[in-house]
């Protein structure tokens, strides 16, 4: 015990000083790109692949663009309260100005504010409307399609494909993002004259949906629109399959998490469910082919949405640095505004007025295990398109 205790203290003392010294030692002229991700805690299932994508982008693309950049991963522990001090410290200690991430929208909104305060640039990987809406900022950009486009590109085409399905039921997690998805869906229901026969608000910590499913069965809808995401969607689909919902109605998951989620759920449960997707590895674009190739060679894996999301966020930061020919955040912001680039979903561009990237959103249909061409061939893309809030009705007022 005695020695352990002393060693512990000595180790702690050494631990306090060493990283600071080490970091200072090679604080050369490399630009640091910091991705804030949930590497521990309940959301690390999305954080770990994101980390892979973020890392790969800096490793593979920096030299290609002729930049000297270094990747720094910051663990937000799935908790904005824990993430912010780390970001502030990283900015102070290591002079980091370029940020991307995270997994959770609550972390992302706070990050957007924090990075603005410390005079950096932030490319966001979250879907909350506020990032390029009411909380938009000069220093914040965002790659993924927010809730508006996600609903426009899933609910609208599916209503077109299933003209006889007139009764829709929604399942919403009761918090800001879920409510935004629901608001957008209701607008479309109203516009197209579809009957909204019921909605279930459930808490963000819900894992047991059997009670809700009984309610859904009682309402006899034609389509269930699932507006939650991640592990909750997984649980919901599993339990819906258990109750035989899939035989009685269609299920649409507006905000699908992609490949990792599909392999976790398995094709027997997935079969016949519609998913809205930000990215799919089979999409035929030049950039995507290069990405699939890169991930296969460098990480021996197929790229998933979590990976490519962060990969692209960091790619954008690097492209901004390259175009600005400077690591002054103000220059980089100028370089990114209005940028048109080759993106994973085709040619994409960044709108100057709200810093939102304009890209595709996909509607996919999961297929049975028997029809899969390979292990990862879970879905077929059935439609795709781009929908974004017009400048006239945008809540973004950038100062």
């Amino acid at each position: 015990m005695k020695t352990t205790r002393r060693e512990l203290l000595a180790g702690a003392a050494a631990g306090i000083f060493c990283p600071a010294l080490l970091k200072n030692a090679f604080a050369a002229d490399a630009t640091r790109i910091c991705s804030v991700l949930s590497l521990s805690g309940p959301f690390s299932s999305a954080g770990k692949p994101a980390d892979l994508g973020a890392r790969l982008a800096v490793r593979a693309l920096a030299s290609k663009y002729g930049l000297s950049a270094e990747y720094v991963a910051l663990d937000d522990e799935g908790n904005p309260g824990r993430a912010m001090p780390k970001i502030i410290t990283a900015a102070q200690r290591e002079k980091i100005r370029f940020f991307s991430g995270p997994v959770l929208s609550s972390v992302g909104l706070a990050m957007s504010q924090a990075v603005a305060n410390l005079g950096g640039v932030y490319v966001s990987s979250i879907g909350a409307d506020e990032v390029t809406g009411s909380e938009c900022r000069k220093s914040t950009f965002r790659w993924p399609v927010p809730s508006y486009g996600a609903i426009q590109q899933t609910v609208r085409p599916l209503i077109g494909m299933l003209p006889s399905a007139r009764r829709w039921f929604t399942v919403t997690p009761s918090y800001v993002f879920g409510e935004a998805l629901l608001r957008n869906s209701k607008a479309i229901f109203k516009e197209l004259g579809v009957e909204h026969v019921g909605n279930i608000d459930h808490s963000l910590t819900e894992t047991e949906f059997s009670g809700h499913i009984t309610n859904i069965l009682a309402a006899k809808p034609d389509v269930i629109l699932v507006l939650n995401f991640g592990p909750q969607t997984t649980n919901f689909l599993r339990q819906a399959a258990e109750f035989g919902l899939k035989d009685k109605m269609k299920i649409l998951v507006a905000w699908g998490a992609g490949l990792e989620q599909f392999s976790e759920i398995g094709s027997d449960v997935l079969d016949g469910v519609y998913f809205g997707l930000q990215y799919w590895h089979d999409v035929d674009t030049p950039k995507n082919k290069a990405i699939v190739e890169l991930f296969r060679n460098e990480a021996n894996t197929l790229p998933s949405w979590s990976m490519v999301n962060l990969f692209t966020c960091n790619d954008l930061l690097l492209q901004g640095l390259k175009k600005a020919k400077s690591d002054d955040p103000q220059e980089v912001i100028k370089a990114l505004e209005g940028l048109t680039y080759e993106g994973p979903t085709g040619e994409e561009n960044i709108r100057p007025f709200d810093h939102q990237c304009v890209k595709e959103y996909y509607l996919a249909l999961a297929k049975p295990a028997s029809k899969k061409k390979n292990d990862a061939d879970f879905v077929d893309i059935v439609s795709s398109g781009r929908s974004f809030v017009e400048q006239a009705i945008s809540q973004c007022r950038m100062t």
């Binding site: 808490s203 009984t214 976790e264």
Partner: protein, 285 residues
Amino acid sequence: MASMLLSQVANGVGIGIIYFMIAVGMSITFGMMRFLNIAHGGFYLLGAYVGFELVQQTGSFWFALVGAPICIGLVAWLSEPAFSVLYRLSHNMQILATLGLALVIQETVVLVWDTVGKHVAAPGGLVGAVAFGDFVYPRYRLFVICVGVVLAAGLWLLLERTNYGAVLRAGTQSTDDIELLGIDIRRVFAATFGLGAGLAGLAGVLAAPIRGVEPFMGPEALAIAFVVVVVGGLGSFFGALAGGLLIGIIQSTTSVFWPAASGVAMYVGMAAIMLIRPRGLLGRA
């Protein structure tokens, strides 16, 4: 409305039976050893993962259903002497130590199986739902209820009709008396600990096809076990059964009347019960 309520009650029973299995071990361990085990959720977690692994290796859910709980129970039984160090600590320190252990178990699971959740399919014969008129219920959940009922009956027989059960019941009253009878109390402790852990492991396997398997499901199981144990009465077998079913039904019925509150309803229920009946529903005065 009535049939809706009925089906929610049926759902509640299905969930409640699993809650009972998680909680009963914790309750007995506390009643006998005065040991407050925050790491109890870890047995549930390990049960689910060992079950997953056994399904992967053997391809049979049935094998996992039997094998995983035995595996968890054995490990707990063998490692009980290590846990006994904690019995003499104050409750506060037990909480600190077992909180640490729960974190260690969770992170070890992440190291071994990674953070992405796993899928365990229900066995072939139990896929799908049965319909009784308007009322639909999944076959697999019916099976879970049956297992739960058989298990509860078996446990009851064990407690009421066997020597070990008599010792166990006496032990939750006073361990001194058992020692006076010349019974080696440490062996009783180890067996009890192993039994409780095995039951939590069984709950983990049974819940896997419904809830999936992921590394962060321990704390939720723990929170539920805690609530069930306190509502039912610490150290009481029937308390755990009544508490489990009650919490399951509360959760499931609030999801009809006030869906957003179903997560917090059990805590409100617990606080109310504790302020009215300090020792829980069936706790000793």
